[in-house]
Amino acid sequence: MIRVALWLLGALLLAGIVHLATVLVLPRMAGQDAYARVSAIAPVNAVVPVPTPTPEKAIMPFMDPAFEVSICRYDLSRGPLKFSVPIGQAYTSVSFYTRSDVAYYAINDRAAGRRVIELDLMTAAQRADLPENEEITAADRLIVTSPTITGLIVIRALAPEPGFVAAARGVLAAAQCRSQ
C-alpha cells in the first residue's frame, strides 16, 4: 500500500517537472511562432510590408486592423543596423522583438520628439566595441541594444479612418533598415 502511494507521489512530482520543462522549452521549439511566420515573407535586413489582416487571411493572429504594418527581420551578425522611419500625421510606433518574440523596446512618434525616428541597433558586444569618440557623439543618437543577434523590428502606422490608409502606407514605404 505504502509502495503504491510512494509511486504515485513520485509520479506527481515527475508530472510537475514535465509540465514546467515543456512550458519552458516550448518557446524555443515552436515552429509557428511570430518570427517563423514573418520569416516566410521577410528577407533579412530589409523593410517589407505585412499584408493588412482580413477575415480570410492574416499572417499572425490578433493583428490590429486599424494599423498598416511593415517588418524588418534583422540579423546583427555582420554588424550594427541603422533604422529610420519618418513620422506621419497619425500615430506611428516602432517595436523591437527578440528572436523568441519578447518585446524588449518600443518607441512612438511623440516619445521620439522629432520628425524622424532614427536609431542604431546593435548587440551589447558591438556597443562595447564602439570607439570612445563615437561614444560622445552618441549622445544625440539613439542606440538600442538587442539581447539577441536576430529579431524583428515592427513599424506600425495608424490609419484612424479608412481614408488614411494610403498616408500610413506612405510612411511605412519610407522606412529603412540596413547594415552599416
Binding site: G10, A15, V18, V23, A30, D64, S93, A103
Partner: protein, 186 residues
C-alpha cells in the same frame, strides 16, 4: 513503475496544454470584464505567457507602444455570443488613440456584410458627454454597430496607444473601461 511514468507524462503534458489553451497567464490587470497583461510587452514576460505567445504566433504589443485589454465575457460573466445583442457603453482610460476590435477565439477577424471589424477612437460616434455606445450583434443597428457575423463565440480587444495605463494600473478608477451588457438573444 511504467504506470507511474505514464501518469507523470499524462498529467504534466495535459497541465501544459490546459495552461496554454485556457489563457491562464499570471500578472493580469482585470477591470470589469476586461483583462490586460501589460507585462507581456516587456522583457519581464512570464514563462507561461511566453509559451502562449509561441503557440498562437502573435506578437504581444510592446509596453512603449500601448496595452491591450481582452473581454471574453460580459459583465455578468456570460461568454460573448455572436447571436446575441450586446451593448458596450461608457468611456475608455486616457490614451492618445484606442481601437476596439472583434476576433474569433483563434484571433481571426470575423467576416460580415458591413466589412467592419472594429472602431478607432476617431471613427466612433460619441454622446454629448464624450461617452459612447457600441451595439455588438448580428443585425445592423443605427449608431455604432459592430457586427458579429453571427459567430458562436467571439472576444473583444480594446487597445490603448500612448497611454499611462500599464503595470502600475490596478483599479477601474484609474482606468475606467466600458461596461458590457447582454441584451436579447436570437
Amino acid at each position: 513503475m511504467m504506470l507511474a511514468l505514464v501518469i507523470a507524462a499524462a498529467i504534466g503534458l495535459s497541465g501544459t496544454w490546459l495552461a496554454l489553451t485556457q489563457g491562464t497567464a499570471y500578472g493580469g490587470v482585470t477591470i470589469g470584464a476586461w483583462t490586460g497583461w501589460p507585462k507581456n510587452g516587456t522583457p519581464g514576460i512570464d514563462p507561461y505567457a511566453r509559451a502562449i505567445v509561441a503557440r498562437t504566433g502573435e506578437l504581444p504589443i510592446g509596453s512603449g507602444d500601448g496595452v491591450a485589454f481582452y473581454a471574453r465575457t460580459d459583465d455578468a460573466g456570460q461568454p460573448l455570443d455572436g447571436r446575441c445583442d450586446v451593448l458596450l457603453s461608457g468611456v475608455t482610460p486616457q490614451a492618445r488613440f484606442w481601437t476596439l476590435t472583434l476576433y474569433d477565439p483563434e484571433g481571426r477577424l470575423v467576416a460580415n456584410s458591413a466589412q467592419r471589424q472594429g472602431f478607432t477612437s476617431q471613427e466612433i460616434i460619441r454622446n454629448a458627454d464624450g461617452s459612447f455606445d457600441v451595439n455588438v450583434g448580428p443585425r445592423a443597428r443605427p449608431g455604432n454597430w459592430l457586427p458579429t457575423g453571427g459567430v458562436e463565440k467571439y472576444l473583444l480587444v480594446l487597445r490603448l496607444y500612448d497611454t499611462p495605463v500599464g503595470m502600475a494600473t490596478r483599479t477601474g478608477r484609474e482606468a475606467p473601461m466600458p461596461a458590457i451588457t447582454k441584451r436579447a438573444c436570437s
